[in-house]
Symmetry: C2
Subunit: 181 residues, 2 copies
DNA sequence: TTATTTTTGTAATGTTTGATACAAAAATAG
DNA sequence: CTATTTTTGTATCAAACATTACAAAAATAA
């Protein structure tokens, strides 16, 4: 149920997704939706965001068990480029939420910001470790490089909609990943 | 009137800005708003976007009359970092619109995309000229560097909300502008 | 089985939405 | 100054909105 809702929220954002949209998409009536998610629409959206948090946890474990975490991160970014056109247009639900919810709903905005900050921490930790091992020669502080990846992520999130094109996106991503060496 | 409306749209986006919000902000009653802007709320939003187009035209002229256009572009990006906190949270109305309007209103989305593509063209033209003059040594194609600046712009647009902090933003922007040399 | 609780779908809640109708007022024209 | 047009604000519209009330149905417990 959350999954179907997430898909809709992801596409259309919070405000433009109506409860009847959600009802149609999930197949559940309004009554069920409100019985299952006590907080209504907002709670359902939170759950949709939360799920991204779980994906992040998975990625964290993969990173920690990898001998080449930087390659993992790079591969992840490049995999974005080769996604479907619809994926490009949907972008990242977390980044989208930050843009939509500023001045609208502080709680949802902060929820989304927190997820990207956790992602940044993941990147920074991995980069710092690889710098110490000498696998990354760059003297740029790990926290700056971590933020750079977040900036790239957010930038690509919008660029994907302007140019939902594998080649263009791949080119831009690779250009910006060169700094990680 | 458009200016006050633009300010609201810029902050809250299209969907979250109601007509009564606009009426209050502009001081004009609903009747006046609909008499002045035949297309209603959507037309008013278009006018708000259009104004960014005019700013772009101004910047184009400045670029064409400058001996150091690249410095102008760099200064523009860095000036973003030192803006007010509210400016950071508002971000760029054009980039915001692209994120909000995908799957919602194709016309408004395309209007916004077109503006960023024109901006890109401006950058690319300036970069190409400076490459020919030898002022930029990089062999990376001008159109790739132009898109890189758009990616940076969109990335910073979201990063500003996560970190509305001059130092952090300046650091990120300068890091990414290094490629223009 | 029967009794009790939980879940479901429908209908209705009151509110807010974008948009209009229209008369008063202001501006313009003659 | 009068006649005509344009602009304004108010009151109102139907539609859409998020939410809830509630009875039927399903699931669970005894």
């Amino acid at each position: 149920m959350v999954l179907k809702a997430q898909e809709l929220f992801w596409e259309k954002g919070y405000n433009a997704t109506s409860l009847s949209d959600l009802s149609t998409a999930t197949g559940a009536g309004a009554g069920s939706l409100y019985n299952t998610f006590k907080g209504g629409k907002k709670e359902l959206f939170k759950k949709s965001l939360q799920q991204r948090k779980e994906d992040l946890e998975d990625f964290k474990i993969k990173l920690e068990n990898s001998d080449t975490p930087i390659e993992l991160i790079k591969a992840f970014f490049i995999s974005v480029a080769t996604a479907s056109k619809k994926s490009h247009l949907k972008g990242c639900i977390v980044a989208n939420t930050i843009v939509e919810m500023t001045f609208i709903d502080e709680e949802l905005e902060n929820e989304a910001i927190e997820i990207l900050k956790e992602t940044e921490k993941l990147y920074t930790t991995a980069i710092l470790a690889e710098q110490k091992k000498g696998n990354i020669k760059s003297k740029i502080p790990a926290h700056t490089l971590g933020k750079h990846l977040i900036t790239l992520w957010c930038g690509i999130n919008t660029l994907r909609r302007i140019y939902p094109d594998k080649e263009i996106l791949k080119q831009q991503i690779e250009l910006q990943l060169q700094i990680l060496k």
